[in-house]
Amino acid sequence: MTETHIQKISTEVTINFTLNGTRSQYRGSPFKRLSAVIRDDFRLTGLKIGCDAGDCGACTILLDGKQICSCLTSISSADGKTITTVEGLRLEQTTRKLQQSFAKHGAAQCGICMPGFLIAGASVLKKHEKPTKQQILDELGGVLCRCGAYQKIIEAILDANNPSLETKEPEIGKAVGFRYPKTDGMTKLTGEEKFGADSIPADALWLRIIRSPHDSAHFELGDFGPFLKKYPGIQKIMTAADMPFNRFGVYPHIKDQPVMAENFVQFKGEAIAALIGEKETLLQVPLEDFPVSFQVNVPVLGIEAAKSETATVLHRDHADNVLARGKVHKKNIEKGFQESAFICEEFFQTGFVEHSYIEPEAGWAKIVGERIEIMVSTQTPVMDKMELAGVLLCDSEKIRVIPTACGGGFGGKLDMSVQPFIARAAQLTGRAVALVYDRPESLASSTKRHASKIWAKFGCDHNGKLKASQLFAEFDTGAYASWGPTVADRVPVHASGPYYVPHVKNDSVAYYTNRHPAGAFRGFGVPQSTIAHESLMDWLAEKAGLDRLEIRYINALREGDATATGQVLENSAGLPQCLDALRPRWKEFLDEVVCFNRVNTQIKRGAGIGCMWYGVGNTSMSNPSTIRIGISEAGTITLYNGAVDIGQGSNTVLTQIAADALGIAVSQIHLVMGDTDLTADAGKTSASRQTFISGKACELAGKSLREKLFAALGLSVTDAGNPLHRIERENNLIGVRCNNRFYGLDTSVLEPDSNGDVLIGEGYFDPPTSPLNSEGQGNPYAAYGFAAQIAMVEVDMELACVKVLKIAAAHDAGKAINPMLVEGQIMGGISQGLGLALMEEYVSGQTENLHNYLIPTIGDVPEIECMIIESASPLGPSGAKGVGEPGLIPTAAAILGAINHAAGIRLKQVPVLPHRLYHELRKKKGGS
């Protein structure tokens, strides 16, 4: 052997392979991840980097026909081989049909995992012409979908041989209620969609963040000179001193989080400096060489530590380490318990939960003239713009945020992550600058669902009617405020459950600790408190001798009832209908459990139920949306939609609403999403608000534009109200067909605006709410979603393993604008609720990857039956309310109830890991 056989990693080699049917040649380092080569060298960004560790499957490709993770192999292993990425699936009929089937079945939510699932799907179809469900599960088991679209994916593969996969257009005026495939669905299935890391210019500079390895420490930055000399590729080191105003936070009055720490760090993973340089060069810098010295402090870990009188104070203006408190007190709680025949009380505990979107935080920024443009994966472009203006101390109009496609958010992309780094680095260097978190970095630095300790006490009379409910929730909010106050506010409002309770006392406290900030996560604390109230409802049912569904039915909030905050629900309170819909299935579940358990001892089955309600939109705060729809000189209709679609489907839902409001076909509407220069503020994609609030604004915008068009054509505005008069296009003119005559619009006589539109319709909606008074009484939300879910589980009584077999979910959506997408939201919520119940717990320092932090796979999520109840809200578009968060909220409660039914164990802590349930079973056995 001679030395020439051995290649220095820095030397160039030539590797030939076939990429999506094309002979291709790579020249470069012989040892580079294949995923990086395909994305960076061949600019095919269809495959995604979710973890670089083989844990998520988003980078799956076919190598010589076999599915592999392209992050786990080097380019050299592709020599002479054939590679198929998602972009190559259009080449074969089978895989083209697979893509169509995915579109038709609504398999894509955010779409980040779709390239992985399509490749794995192609692999199963290669092996089996007509695969069974089990074969599909086994072949797809290596790809994670955090949106929880597994069932739709399975249905799509089973249906991939169907000869008619095309979808018909709905009739004009009937788009609302139609199972319309996502308008942006196909781009998510071809690899064309551009997520945060997919459109970074090749000549951009990159950032790498130096993060704290300690929970709490003082630190001193060393001399950068020798470090920069050793690694000349580093162009600049950015520190706190480089930030014009080094504080941010989602609340206007709480800016407590530094972009980079100054002298001391408050959590493990907090940024202390950022290196700027060329991508490849930066990767070669060992971060442990960075000149910094730490003096480690005793950290404040956990709620009890934060409460201790001797606890270190994290923020000087919060001497008791309390970030926020919330309360809702109604009437006289003592009296309520005196009137109760049965009273139950219990402590509950939940851990931190990580969003685990498969797309880590990513974005890039560039300077355009005097302005900065930010291309970023976000849930909230306008808030990003305002936050950046605060950090950079500039006029917010100097900032343009253009959201990329968002590969999952769930509340985790409501806070700034990469934004201030890329914006400031672009300012300092004058270059385009990109930052893409790796998975451990994403896990360590992003917000989490609040860990909680909850005490609850419920009382009911002899008939099971609730008399009193009391709940005290303590939350670990981590080192900085983030959305902690929102959780503290929201929980007391919801903590009595979706029931009429005359006497209520709900309180909450959020404590600062030296943990990663806890923030927004689908449900803002309500899933945690729902575990508590639903467990007590089961217990009361047992004491009162009632069926668990029936005790909920008799207590369900109904129209005309007053909530815990004293708000009288005038309409749209659909929990009784949800329970009515579930009742037959509930009885089947109960019967099945009895039959099964009669003949089985090692494995026991159980059924459980969970109910929830959820206020749509911000709590007692203005949160308006403005939507515009324009007609251009060329007659094109554009929906200027400031609401970011994070996978839930608002792009599609709003287009459907606009189409019906205008009286035009869905396919005739072009969409601009989220660009802060082109769209008006439609608020954050959070709090299940986009369909309800932006949807209403969209409906109003469509009506307004229709009226303007009629007026411009000299037709009466009264005629605009007649849906039979459709907007159509004829001879290249946009116009109205009225009584069999076409009135075309002569756009040339109208003055176009800066977007080229000659007519604009605008809609604005801010749901009416009122502030809560000092006792927490008031009207915090304009509409509430309601839902009930039932679960059937199997418990291995020896090994204490739980398997969820079936879930049926009835959700009051007000009106399902797109039933397929509503089902997607319900199924996705259930998937995350199952994770919360059985496996998810973020432990700082131990779960910084997706093989130690477990989320449900395709094999864990059971068959889900969705029942959509439509108890219309008069405020929402066509009666619609929000469904984004409700899917998750009752799931864990239903699963815990089912475990109790099967095993006779009332669990007080999630996740129910096997060892935790085992010890409970042992205790019970020992005690009996």
Binding site: Q7, S10, A53, G54, S76, S77, L140, L283, N849
Partner: protein, 284 residues
């Protein structure tokens, strides 16, 4: 050669690979452990990638052994028609990661990585596998139980490369089973594992090989029980002979996946069930 601080060598023949071996060399076979250990970092050092060596990719039947080459993947095991004593290995293969990992990961890589939670060691122990290691001057076979020394520690010296896993052939009727316990389906690291290979001769257990993984730094054979089971009739229940003391040598740990007490007690239950399942296989 020593002057190359960062280098990558992917030879197409074994001799070149063996000549390249030095103490600093990191051997790459499959990559399913190599790459995850290097998220967000550079690939430093010298890398010997053995994935292009044809003779290491094969599963070969010899007179005494089944010889599994060092780059044979889990999927290769699943697809190959093998005698019944490989059923446990096939089951283990199906439970590793997802299909992607099964297509990429190698059995040899799994044992060299020597994670206490690795899936191959308990199975290879019940197969009494030998690890064939080669240097440029010699080839020798090391029993699997001597090969793995501890948590991520093997006896492999830097001059040697694992070139194959040798599984001695069994003549009698055999049945083999594998049971993996994890907190989710697919893509899961074991809380505990049990592997069995049982030989029957004239209606009685001729040899029982039982092992437990993820409950000690190195997977352990349950030798007392193995001896006790010897001679047991296929007509009688075997699992009743399992005693809690059989697991006395296990030293499971508390970690995020499970605590030690649960691991040990679960292992006992799993052992009974797996033995029972193995017996049932003789009747199917």
């Amino acid at each position: 050669m020593g002057s190359i601080s960062k280098s990558y060598f992917r030879p197409d023949n074994l001799n070149s690979a063996l000549e390249f071996l030095t103490p600093e060399v990191k051997v790459l076979s499959g990559g399913t452990d190599f790459f995850p250990e290097r998220v967000g970092t550079d690939f430093a050092g010298k890398i010997l990638d053995i994935c292009s060596i044809p003779e290491l990719k094969e599963i070969v039947e010899t007179e005494k052994y089944w010889k599994i080459g060092a780059t044979v993947t889990w999927s290769d095991i699943i697809q190959k028609i093998l005698p019944s004593y490989f059923d446990g290995l096939k089951l283990a293969a199906r439970e590793i990661g997802g299909v992607q990992i099964q297509n990429q990961g190698t059995i040899a890589g799994n044992i060299c990585n020597a994670s206490p939670a690795a899936d191959a060691p308990p199975v290879l122990m019940t197969l009494d596998a030998m690890i064939e290691v080669s240097s440029s001057s010699e080839t020798k076979n090391i029993p699997i139980s001597d090969f793995i020394l501890g948590n991520r520690k093997t006896c492999l010296d830097p001059a040697h490369l694992v070139t194959a896993i040798l599984v001695p052939k069994l003549k009698n009727r055999t049945a083999s089973h594998f049971f993996k316990l994890g907190a989710r389906r697919y893509l899961v690291i074991s809380i505990a594992m049990v592997s069995t290979v049982i030989e029957i001769d004239q209606g009685k257990i001729a040899s029982a090989r039982l092992s437990i993984g993820a409950c000690s730094p190195v997977a352990k054979r349950i030798s007392d029980l193995e001896k006790r089971l010897q001679g047991s009739s296929i007509e009688n229940s075997w699992e009743e002979q399992v005693l809690p003391d059989d697991l006395a040598e296990l030293s499971p740990i508390d970690d995020i996946r499970a605590d030690a007490v649960y691991r040990k007690e679960a292992a006992l239950i799993m052992l009974k069930r797996t033995i029972k399942e193995t017996r049932m296989k003789f009747f199917s």
